[in-house]
Symmetry: C2
Subunit: 227 residues, 2 copies
């Protein structure tokens, strides 16, 4: 049938994009693709994951289901791209850890910055993050990869701070820096995900923020924060 075009140049973005039939999409095609991605993101926030239908995304984007399949194999494939974009935006969290001061008297403030950034980021991307979490947990390697890309930088950055504290003998060496950092990230991620649930049963976010920052600060420096 249709032979693969020998022209494989992509002078456009970073990746080699392909439509279902092997074409390299042009300007109009890429615009449609972006529109579909945006609508996927919207559907994800307004609809239960189980009920996100190709036909709805297409309708919302003012196009037909067949067009959707030109660019994505299924809803999951589109979601994957949306998740990838989100992970890109998460890189700034790392900077807070590496640039901030973890010295005595300043660690708590840095920890609070980190907590705030976490809560804000999770709030902005909650709908995508919950799907990433679910799919990762179900063993989907592609989503797991994204989740790792997002969290690994943060975890290793925190682990570095732990190692520093271990050099100063403020944290026992039996503690594994990566495990310690991972546990802290887990705490941040889960609390951020269920922020609203906590509020719902009477716990104020301000108080959560304080408890979290306290654990982060102590966990990575070994110094008990001042009251």
């Amino acid at each position: 049938m249709s032979e693969i075009s020998p022209r494989r140049r992509v002078d456009d973005h970073n990746e080699e994009l392909r439509a279902a039939d092997g074409r390299v999409p042009g300007r109009r095609g890429r615009a449609t693709r972006q529109r579909l991605l945006a609508c996927t993101r919207d559907m994800l926030t307004s609809t239960s994951y189980r009920d996100v239908k190709v036909i709805d995304i297409a309708r919302e984007a003012g196009t037909s289901p067949a067009t959707f399949y030109q660019y994505f194999a299924d809803v999951e494939a589109a979601t994957l791209v949306v998740a990838e974009e989100m992970a890109q935006h998460g890189q700034h969290l790392r900077v807070i850890i590496t640039e901030g001061s973890w010295a005595e008297g300043e660690a708590m403030a840095t920890a609070l910055d980190l907590v705030d950034a976490f809560l804000a980021f999770w709030d902005d991307h909650r709908s995508v993050l919950r799907v990433v979490d679910l799919a990762t947990d179900e063993g989907d390697g592609r989503f797991q990869k994204i989740r790792v890309r997002l969290l690994n930088d943060i975890t290793t950055a925190l682990a570095d701070v732990v190692r520093e504290a271990q050099k100063g003998h403020r944290i026992p060496t039996v503690i594994d820096p990566m495990a310690e950092a991972g546990v802290l990230v887990a705490m941040l991620a889960h609390t951020a995900t269920h922020q609203y649930g906590f509020e719902f049963w009477g716990i104020r976010t301000a108080k959560l923020r304080q408890s979290m920052a306290r654990h982060v600060s102590w966990g990575v420096t070994g110094i008990i924060p001042p009251d």
Copy 2:
């Protein structure tokens, strides 16, 4: 059409069970219902949540889709019952907190017991728990209720320990006991959920266990655990 039977006696279980047409199911009916529930549980563990179909559950249970709808409105309704059963089984986690000793020198051991019980419980029920998490996060009140029933007892039990430590001035009173307990439970829950993910990228469960127990122990008693 069919009037509701005036016989409302239920001398059987705790709840008033009704089939789709208002009947009170007898022995055979209840057995079928249980079979469908078991198969729902199985499908949930072997299939991505999005892809759990009524037709598959029915086939697995050796019956027809129409029979499924006799007992449940949809897959979600059956999942809800499965989740409720799971929450019942989680009550034993509370006992570890209330019965265990949080005295200096013993708190770390109690914390380790709690962590182990958490990891084991989450491992047993991972597939149901991830759906509960997703649905809760999507704003489904029924699943949220179950989640609360499961976690609230644990959280309040931990909060009580925190309050005790505050009386002894080992934890500053600016800390909100429920917030502190909630954060610790979040840490336990999230780490337990993604246990395999951690292993996958080189962090041993034994080390996670240690870091978590350390945070729990310090968080509720204010005492830095011995190395």
